[in-house]
């Protein structure tokens, strides 16, 4: 039996594809990326199909998520940042849906793969850097030199700013990845306790109640984390985009 808590993160091939000696197989991870996109886009598409003036429940969920991200972006990056709305909204919906789909037993969690979260984070950072240089030219580099800093301290402050800027894609990706990974492992370990303890006879079944309660509580917590991490990802994206839109500090 698959009681190995890391088994749920195994990637296996469904349709093997190899191009130029590199493995591009359609895997279970690919399958759940497709499922994530299908669920998120399908939900948003179908719930707003009626374009009701008075929204149905589903339509108000879609509208709420839209307005949630819109106000987040407006507060984070100002009205000029609104041109990035489709990007932030897509990221938020993708991460949220992937996290929530991962909560189903036997489902693969797309966001528990560091490479996935890293690519998403890189997408954000590259957007910031490219748009920043496109909009402000070399003045964009002033994000590394906060105004009002004495000249003596400038090299020190700038190097700290550069390090913090370079660590952004790492912190952004590792935060999401580690949260999803750790949550799922913890859940699996506690659920594994229930199974293995209840196999040890009457006393074991009695003792299994505690990890069972823990599993139930953890499941609730994981749903919170699933939402929270999508939210944090979107908020940080908005903050980073603010640098690109408005230049220095």
């Amino acid at each position: 039996m698959a009681n190995d808590p890391t088994h749920q993160f195994q990637v296996f091939k469904i349709v093997p594809i190899e191009i130029g000696g590199i493995d591009f197989s359609f895997t279970n991870a690919s399958l759940f990326m497709v499922a994530t996109v299908a669920c998120a886009a399908g939900f948003l598409y179908l719930s707003t199909a009626n374009r009701g003036l008075i929204p149905t429940r589903m339509q108000s969920v879609a509208e709420m998520s839209y307005e949630f991200i819109a106000s987040m972006l407006r507060e984070g990056a100002g009205s000029q940042g609104m041109k990035f709305f489709p990007m932030v909204f897509s990221l938020f919906m993708f991460v949220l849906t992937a996290n929530l789909l991962g909560m189903f037993p036997y489902f693969f969690t797309v966001t528990s793969q560091i490479i996935v979260t890293f690519v998403l984070a890189l997408f954000v950072i590259l957007t910031v850097v490219i748009y920043g240089f496109y909009k402000h030219g070399l003045h964009f580099l002033s994000v590394f030199a906060p105004s009002g800093v004495p000249k003596v301290l400038l090299p020190l402050v700038s190097s700290i700013e550069i390090i913090s800027f370079l660590s952004r894609p790492i912190s952004l990706s590792v935060r999401l990845f580690a949260n999803m990974l750790a949550g799922h492992i913890t859940l699996k370990v506690f659920a594994g306790f229930v199974a293995s303890m209840s196999a040890m006879g009457a006393l074991g079944i009695g003792g299994a109640i505690l990890p069972l309660l823990m599993t139930v509580a953890m499941t609730g917590l994981e749903f919170l984390v699933a939402f929270l991490q999508a939210y944090v990802f979107a908020v940080l994206t908005c903050m980073y985009l603010n640098d690109a839109v408005h230049g220095g500090h």
Partner: protein, 206 residues
């Protein structure tokens, strides 16, 4: 069944996963496809297994690009349109409501103005009617009074006439009576002139 808490806690470490991976193919019948994943059961902690990275990146780029495209082309304009339409509609309805309120206010004002005018007109009519009635009563009274005065005058005239006539006839009656009395007393006819003179003298004495 082989998993003990100790194993579960140690699992993320590479050595244990290795051992677990070795035992997996035997019991791996619950996976969706039943495909044995010997390729990736390399013993590396799965998220750090770089042999899957190329495939994951490719499929993430494909799926996310499709998702982004759908969001940008369909969902965002649609939801934005719905929200804007609602916003416009609410603003329009508020305008309509304030317009109707202004209309209602104007109607109330007109009504009150007309009511006041009607009230003034009504009291004028009542006043006029009262005046007319009063004037008519006064006219009637004066007419009747005049008539009565005329009648009284006519009556007094007639009384005076009758009185004068009566006084006129008194002399003739007295003369007749006097000549008759004289005739009876002295047996001689007194002359009409004497009688008349005597009566006149008596009248003057009386």
């Amino acid at each position: 069944m082989f998993v003990t808490p100790a194993f579960a806690q140690g699992a993320p470490a590479n050595g244990d996963t290795n051992a677990a991976a070795g035992t997996q193919p035997a019991g791996q019948t619950h996976t969706e496809t039943g495909v044995a994943h010997d390729d990736h059961a390399t013993g590396v902690f799965p998220p750090f297994d770089s042999s899957t990275y190329a495939s994951q990146v490719l499929w993430l780029v494909i799926t996310f690009a499709v998702f982004y495209w759908v969001m940008q082309k369909v969902i965002v304009p649609r939801v934005g349109g719905i929200l804007e339409h609602r916003h416009d509609r609410i603003a329009q309805d508020l305008d309509e409501a304030s317009r109707l309120k202004a209309e209602a206010d104007a109607a109330v004002e007109t009504y009150e103005k007309e009511l006041a005018a009607a009230r003034v007109k009504g009291s004028a009519i009542a006043e006029g009617a009262r005046e007319a009635a009063k004037a008519k009563a006064a006219a009637d009274r004066t007419a009747i009074e005049a008539e009565l005065v005329a009648k009284i005058a006519a009556a007094e005239q007639r009384i005076g006439d009758i009185k004068a006539q009566a006084f006129g006839e008194v002399g003739a009656i007295a003369e007749e009576a006097t000549s008759a009395i004289v005739d009876q007393l002295i047996g001689a006819k007194a002359s009409a002139d004497d009688v008349r003179a005597a009566v006149s003298a008596a009248k003057v004495e009386a």
